[in-house]
Symmetry: C2
Subunit: 202 residues, 2 copies
DNA sequence: CGAAGATGTGGACGCTGTCAAGATGTTTCT
DNA sequence: AGAAACATCTTGACAGCGTCCACATCTTCG
């Protein structure tokens, strides 16, 4: 493969460039032309891989959802033998650790959720898939009788909303100033532990 | 006042235009020039009132935070004689009803939180002020002994994160499809009731 | 070999945010 | 009242952006 004219792996190079830009300037600083420059390619090359700018940003967001999806799935499977309480805690930690450890991806995931209204769009399908293990676990917790059945749907929404909201507040710098004495891990443990102790009273 | 050359109330007209645009095209569709067009004014008139585009969007976001702030403050004062449980429920409803009833403002509030990293920026100050009543209420609930003191900070973060996360998921169209049999009010009641019953077990 | 397709280039277009210079009202000070 | 300072709005210019188009280059496959 001659590396003069054809890049060879432009799609991935562009996604990496997007990651860099989001880290440096935030999701609103992403530019098709800048991503192309960083990949060493002309300004209109990306169109052959991602269509338009939204396509590129959506692809980066989908990549993030797939990473999170994989982590949640793994956590779900690895904790199969544990109590529902420990399992839920492990899922919460996995979600928050991902959001805090991959801020560029997480920011774009949120941004694309905001901008893309169609529930059937790939990005939203990916988001929904990621939450399947959580939904399963909630079903099991409801069967334990800890949550009454008529509240199951609300309870699932609340759990999703809580980890999502905490991650979003953290990532948009609303929470860190209140936890300067914490490592990120200690913060996550405190949040997850408190959630768990409220849901499963002793 | 002659209405030919000078507008008279351009600042408000621009904020209203931003609201329209957000409703029609989302926060990412806002354009300084389009807002100026809708206000019937030249493309660079807005700079005298809001500096640049971020200034205009931030002003719209701040306006939203002040509206929410006022609602939460009012709710907090009006429920002074009630139990902490009823008071917390009322605050949750007020927050969610605002987010769902003023989606344009809420979307911009979130967008600006994402984009503006400086915790001392006016938009973030306004956001923090809005949550003062909630923080106060959490302090009182902790005094009741329902939540142990060493978890107070986490508990406050969780409450904030939960209403914020639920509102964000709803507004970005993630939740409505699961609640098509609900009016928005019924959805809010279900969420708030479930949160409350988890926090205050009978 | 040659056609078809995938991938990358370069230039054009209209739109955008920002800036500078000037025009037009309004307020304030003398 | 008059002038000076100020606030507000216009016009024109500029570079950067996303998108489209025609074309160049490389790969694949009949």
């Amino acid at each position: 493969m001659s590396d003069s004219y054809h890049h060879g792996d432009l799609a991935n190079a562009l996604l990496e460039a997007v990651g860099e830009i989001v880290t440096e300037r935030g999701a609103s600083g992403v530019t098709l032309r800048e991503a192309a420059r960083r990949a060493g390619v002309s300004h209109s090359a990306p169109s052959h891989h991602f269509g338009d700018k939204d396509g590129l940003m959506e692809a980066f967001g989908i990549q993030g959802w797939e990473m999170l999806s994989e982590r949640l799935r793994t956590t779900f499977l690895e904790t199969e033998a544990q109590t529902h309480r420990l399992r839920l805690e492990a899922m919460g930690r996995a979600y928050l650790h991902f959001a805090m450890g991959q801020p560029a991806h997480y920011e774009m995931m949120m941004r694309m959720m905001d901008d893309c209204e169609d529930p059937l769009a790939p990005i939203n399908q990916a988001a929904e898939t990621a939450f399947m293990p959580l939904a399963l676990l909630v079903g099991q917790i409801v069967q334990d009788g800890i949550i009454p059945e008529h509240r199951a749907r609300y309870f699932a929404s609340i759990l999703w909303g809580t980890v999502h909201g905490i991650a979003h507040l953290w990532e948009s710098d609303r929470l860190p100033r209140f936890y300067e004495d914490h490592t990120p891990e200690a913060f996550v443990d405190g949040i997850v532990g408190t959630m768990s102790s409220v849901i499963f009273p002793e």
